[in-house]
Structures are given as C-alpha cells and as structure tokens.
Amino acid sequence: MSTTPQTTAAERPAPTSSFKLVSTLGLIALFSGLLVVSVFEFTKPYIAENQRRALEAAVFRVVPGAVSRQDFLLTAQGLFPAAEAPAPGQRVFAAYDAEGNLRGIALQASARGYADVIRVLYGYDPSCQCIVGMTVLETRETPGLGDKIETDARFVANFERLDARLNPTGTGLANAIVTVKQGDKEHPWQIDGITGATISANAIGRMLNESAGTVLPQLAPYWALLEGGA
Amino acid sequence: MGLLSFLTGLTFPRGVHPPGLKEDTRDKPIRRLPFAPRMVMPLQQHFGRPARPLVVKHQEVLRGQPIAEADGFQSAPLHAPVTGVVEGIELMSTARGPKTEAIVIRTAPGDSQAIHWAQPRDLERLNRPQLIQAIQEIGLVGQGGAAFPTHMKLSVPDGYDIDTLVVNGCECEPYLSADHRIMLEQTDAVIAGILIAMKALGATRAVIGVEDDKPDAIAALQARLDKEGPISVGKVRSKYPQGSEKMLIKALLRREVPSGHFPYHIGVVVNNVGTMAQLGTLLPRGEGLVERVVTVAGPGITRPGNYRVPIGTPLRYLLQHVGFTGSDASHIILGGPMMGNTVSSLDVPITKGVSGVVVLPDPEEQDLRIQPCIRCGRCVEACPVGLNPSDLGKLAAVRRYEVMEERYHLNDCFECGCCSYVCPSNIPLVQYFRIAKSLNRERIK
C-alpha cells in the first residue's frame, strides 16, 4: 500500500458557476428585501404612533393643562408652521388646552453635562413669563447620581415656576437663570442645585438660560401666530 | 559629559559601591608561601585547550622545568612549580567541579627550591612572531582572573591595529590587594612588561588604569614614568566593576567594545598589572610561570596578607598556613567576593588565574529568603552593561531563556553581580543568568 494517501479530485469541490452564485445571493437578497419591507410597512404606524405619543406626553408634561399641540419651526426668516417652513430651524411645540387656548410652548435645550450632552424639553408659559415644566429627553449622566435631574422631586420642583422674564428691551432675560448650591436658592430665577451632581444640575441651568435667552426674544413677534395655531 | 567626569573622576555609567575591605592586606608586603608537600597541576588552568603532559609517573622534575607543552597556539605550557617527583597524572578535583586531569608532584623535601630551568633570550633581537612564541613558552596567562593566554591576547588578528594598551590596575573587588602591592613593589617589572607588550602589539601608547583609592600606587608609577612618554597613568573612580575591561576602556578611552566583540576590534588590548609584572620579570630571564601573588583575606583568616604562592599549591595547605581554623567561616571563595566562586573541596589547587582567596562566614538564613521582585529598579540602576536584570530575572524564573537572549541581551551580561548585590528581594539574578546561558549554549550545540 502506498504511504501517500491519494487526494481524489472528488474531494476538491469544483468551483460553482458564477451565475449560480449571483443568482443565489440575489434570491436571498430579494427575500430579505421583501421580508424587511413588509415588516417595515407593518411596524411603521406603530412606531410613528409610539413616537408621537412619547413626544406628546413630554410636551403635555412640561406644559400643564395642555391637550393638543402644534409644531412650528423657528428659522432665520421667522416662525412658520412646521409643514411650511422654508428652511430647517428650531422646533417650537405650541401646546393648547381643550378650549384651544395656548397654554404655553415647549422647547428643546441641550448642554454638556458630566458624561455627555443632556437634552431636555421645557415648557414656557407666556402668561407668567416663566418656565413651567422640564423633562429630560436624553441623558447619559451617571445613573443614581446625575440622573437626579429627572428623578429628584425637589430638583424637578424648581421648574414648576422658574422666572424667565425678558429684560425691558426684550433682547434677553431679565435675570440670568443659574443653578445655585443646594439650599441657596433665593430668587425665582435660581435653580436649587443637587449636592453631588453639581455638574449635571449646572448644565440644566446653563442650557435653560441659553435657550430661553436666545429663543424667547426671537419669538416675541410671533405670539399671535402661536396662539392662533390651534 | 566631559565636565561631569572632571568633577567625578573618570568612570563608566551605573555600577555599585561595595565596601573596600582592603585595610587588612593592602599595607602588608608580599610574602613567600612555603612549598606544600604535594602539588597539583591541572592540565587546563587557562582558557583554551588543555596542555599535553611531557612527564611520566615517577619522573623527577626540577622547579621551572616544563612538564606539559601547549597543545597548539590556543593553549599554554605548564612548568613544574617545585622540584620533586611526579606521582602520576590523575583525575583531580578542580574549582569548577568536574574532575580533570592533573599532574601531581610530590615535593622533594629539603631541596633548594631555586629555579633551575631558564631559556634567556635577547628580547631586542626578536621579531614580533618570535616574541609571541617566547611569551607562549613561559606559559603566561592573564593574572586578572580569566586566565586567557597572554600570547594569544598579544597576537592581534590581521587587519586590526592596536593603538592603546590598557593596563588594568583597578582591582575593584573588595578584599583583594594583590595588584596594589604589585604596583608598589614591582613597579619596574610592570613597566618593563608593558614595554614588551607594547612591542608585541605594535601599540604606541599604554594607559595604566588605577582606582583613586590607591594614591600611593599612582604616585609610585608616576614617579617612574616620563611625563611625555608613551605610558601614562589614568586615575579612575573607585567603583565596582571598574576593573572589567569593557568598563575600563569606557572610563579611560570613552570607547565602547561593540556587543559580541573584543577590545582588539576597537584597537585596544587590556592586560592586568600582575600579568605585566610577570611578563617583565619572566620573559627576559626566559623562566616559566611557577608562582603568583594571591591575596588571602576575610574574617576567617588570622594572618591575612598577600602571598607569593607556587602554582598548584592545594588550598588546604594555603589556608592552614595563614591560620585558618574553620570555626566561623564556611564560604571559601577563589577570586574576589563579587565574582569569585566558592569551592566544594579544600583539595583544589591554586591555579594561574586565582588572584585571591577570601573566606567569609555563613550569611544569616533569613537574608537569603527570595522574595518577589518589587521593581525597585536598583538592579537597572546598577547594571554596568545597561541590561534590565529585573525583567531578565522574571523571564528566567519562567524559563523563557531564548527570549532572554533574543530580546534582552542576555549574552552581554558578564555576571559582575552588581544586580544581585543591590537586590532587596534577594533574587539570585546572576545565578539565573548563568543557568540561562548554560542552557542556551547547549541548545545551540
């Protein structure tokens, strides 16, 4: 017997034809495409509904008493209903109560916190010229610490009525919104901070100050538009 | 660099500062040791091939008479250290461990032990090959420790020019002071030897490197030397291992011997002052190498000093003569305490390369406990070669010997012991490296 084991031709697979390769893959891709499309189509309404509900829940949370909303875009050219905006810009959610009266607007703001950017939605009530609610949309702050900005009732209570009056000339806030050390709050435009999460709390103050200070003056001419939106 | 060495004295980077411990011996003149009743002359006392015996059992020999011839160029002959009778050629214990062949001579009692054999030559008339041959015939090998045959060292391969002969008078090992005494007592012989060696090498200058703890030796040498002459004295810092040839070359000449090369590759040859003294004394007279200066010292010795010891004297006889009782000492070291080897038997003879016998007491057991390396970095700060003994030691502990050689320059380690000396964790670094080297050598074979 030969000591060299024979390698028969049969063991080496013959290369498959290119056509077969392409067609197999093509078929698989086709199948995939169909599957994905159908699932996409199937889930689309649910997802949209989910997102809408989440958004509305947030808007209604920051503007107490609101039951419906209307989206606007604040662009360089001015404020437009979202659908008619000529250019991208900042979204302004106008919130209305059951009677269709404007209860306030909701705005997004963001700033860098401890770990990453914090994004919040806050509600502004033009009647009291104050911030009436705030909810955190996105945060990567330390669980159990930085996330006190949304879980700590005492901190959240700051935003029930946070003064955001414009200065007489209407170019900015009358009093800058700031976060102060826990227990040091003296004025209605101050935010009572969180010990141990100073950085996150400060970030909230900074972002509200910046957002309110820039957006509110720009919105001044459009309150009528917003009120009539519903 | 220049400024720094001006401030601190010529030296090499790193190294250690062990205590000198030479007070007991350095001021005592060299004295002669009596002849032992029985002498053992191993056929291999030098680096190279063993000598071939010229005598047979029961043959009578005269002191100084050749008893073994060199086996080719890479070997050195032996001369009878005493007048006596050959008892035989037998396997005898040596300091290295395995038994080797040796010529055993029973000393003739009462005989005058003058040198009876000589082959004087007119040195002026010899050309270089003849000079080299004459040096081989006197059986001279390096007295600094390695016992490298001097004629081999002085015959530089073609294509290399030697510009400098470095003479090694550092004697950086603690306890030892033989070279110190030689420089003081045999100054002329040293200088004569240097001139011969320079001639053999064709070197134009010589530098005698002496550590700054021997100011009297420096003064004695300088007194005999012409300021403008080709021979100068280089004062180097007292630091261990200043006496290693590579470190000395670095200190004196600011040159480095490339890794894996020898000093002659950079135009230098290094010889010990003892070797030079022997050369200067023996060669003109044509006598063979039959005795050498050995420092005997250490806490176990009652009469420490420098002795002129006939080659082949058994250690037992030497120790007995210097008043060694064995009561409080148990490490018997041939060479200095930093580089020397302990011996397992008092039957081993003093050979051509033994520069000292140091007897030390047993260290406390707890001092030997090995602890993990704490990476204190002392070894790295100490290694004169610039190795990383800490990593090498860890590699050795997990037996990664090839890595040690390939990536960590194991073969550049010359086992000076600085790293072990400083290690607070008592890691036997040098021992690790020896094992690694011996296994690597065998793997290549």
Partner: protein
C-alpha cells in the same frame, strides 16, 4: 430593491470567489486525533506539523509516542497506512546514589536547581559525577514521568515516559540517556574515580571490580575508566547472570517494578541521609 440585492450579491460573489483558499480539512481531523501535547518526540515541531507529515506520508503514525496505540491505529486507518513500528525509548538514569547512600561534601545554598548547583563548584556532592537530586529533570518532564524519591533520586515511570529527551538535555551531569526498552541490563553509575575514593563517596558505586564482565557472555561487558560498560550491540546475550556477584549493586536488571539487584550486592538499610562529610582543614 431586488436590483440592489443582485448588485450586492454580485460584489459579494466576486469577493468571496477571490477569498477562497483550499486547506486540506484532514489536517484538522488528524490534529484532533493527536494528543496536542506538542512535545516534539515524533521528531517534528509539534502536533500540527506531525499531522501534515502524516498526510504527506513522511512519518508513520506510531512515531507519536504520547498517543495511545488505539488512537494511532485510528489515524492509520483513516489514512489507510500501516501503523508502523517504533521501538519505544525510555529515559534511563545512570546513578543510584540517593542521599542515604551517597555523601555530600559541601552544602549548596541557592536556587533549587541542578543546573545552578552544578555551576557552583560542581554542586557539593561527594561524587562529582552523580545526581545532585535537585530535580531539574522532574521539572522539565512535561509528562510527569519523573519523580524524585525520598532520597532525592529521580525515578522514571516507564509508562508515562514518552522518550522526548528533555531530561537528557537538562541534566547538568549528563546522567540520563534514552534507551530502547529492551535494554534491560543497566549500569547505574558514571563514577570514574578509582575504587577507594569512589567507595568513600557512595555505597552503590561501580568499583570496576570486573565480576560482571567475567560472569556475562564474552564481550558484553568491558571495563573502561573505572566503570563497567555494556555493549548493547550484543544486547541479545544479556541476562541477569551478569548482576549476581556485583558487590555494590551498581549493575541492575530492569524488569517489573523495581530494578533487580544481584544477590551479592550489599544490602542498604539506611533510610535517612548520610551525615555531611566534614573535611577538616588539616592536611
């Protein structure tokens, strides 16, 4: 959509085509059958190279001495080749001087390693040829085939020994050699000292008295440098006759559990180490 799919498919098909490499799957299968000890006893650098060598027919399956015969047979069957034969080699130690019979002259302090000790003036054992008993061979054996007995003498388990030769390489006194299992007559000594000196150091030393040579068939054993030397070329002649009159039991017959000593051998009853020889500084 499908167009996109086909486009991607095309790219992938081409890409995959290019990437295709053939490697004989049997190499993996063979490697699975091998012990993966990578010991090198088979003569190549490890189990995978051995598998390749098997496939190319360069080596026979039986060359793997670690594997069980069963497994090797499976390999042979798979490849359709003969198992091959290879006389098993095992490591043999040429020293019997444990601490109860061989004296120590100087105590060695340092790393527990024969290599290290041998470099320090030979290690301090009275007999400079003999085993230092610090167990480098035990450590180096990957197969746990060597154990030091209680006298510090290595004992080879012939079943576990794969004949890799690591112990042969590591022993600083060169006491190990690889021997075919059929070499049963064995001189367990390498001491070349003359009789008196040898006897002073060790009680089981070969004194080169010549009795074994006289009793054995002509030419099997001869005396050389104070030692009995067996000519294994004449191994067929060997029998336990040769060991009978050995006075020290340095020559043994290896069969069964413990090596067989001759009836004339001095009995060793001592169990504890010999006291250290203490040379006095007197001449």
């Amino acid at each position: 959509m499908a167009g996109l799919g086909i486009l991607l498919a095309g790219i992938l098909a081409i890409a995959n085509r290019r990437l295709y490499v053939f490697e004989d799957p049997r190499i993996d299968q063979l490697e699975d059958l091998l012990p993966r000890a990578n010991c090198g006893a088979c003569g190549v650098a490890g189990c995978r190279p051995f598998a390749e060598a098997l496939l190319e027919g360069r080596l026979e399956p039986a060359r793997c001495t670690v594997n069980s015969t069963d497994m090797n047979q499976q390999i042979a069957d798979m490849l359709g080749v003969a198992l091959g034969s290879h006389e098993r080699q095992v490591a043999r130690l040429a020293c019997a001087g444990g601490s109860h019979v061989a004296a120590t002259r100087a105590r060695y302090q340092g790393l527990k390693s024969c290599r290290a000790a041998a470099l320090v003036s030979g290690g301090g054992k009275g007999c400079t040829w003999g085993c230092l008993g610090l167990g480098d061979c035990e450590v180096v054996c990957d197969f746990d085939a060597i154990r030091l007995d209680r006298h510090g003498l290595p004992v080879v388990d012939p079943v576990r020994c794969t004949g890799c030769g690591d112990c042969v390489d590591v022993c600083p006194k060169d006491l190990f050699s690889l021997q075919p299992e059929s070499h049963r007559l064995w001189v367990a000594c390498l001491n070349q000292d003359p009789q008196d000196e040898a006897m002073a150091h060790c009680q089981v030393v070969c004194t080169a008295c010549g009795r074994c040579a006289a009793d054995a068939p002509e030419g099997l054993i001869r005396m050389e440098s104070n030692l009995a030397v067996i000519d294994y070329a004449k191994n067929a002649l060997a029998s336990p006759v040769a060991i009978q009159r050995c006075p020290t039991g340095a020559i043994v017959w290896l069969e069964g559990q413990a090596p067989l000593k001759g009836s004339g051998a001095r009995k060793v009853t001592r169990k504890e180490p010999l006291p250290r020889m203490e040379p006095l500084p007197r001449v």
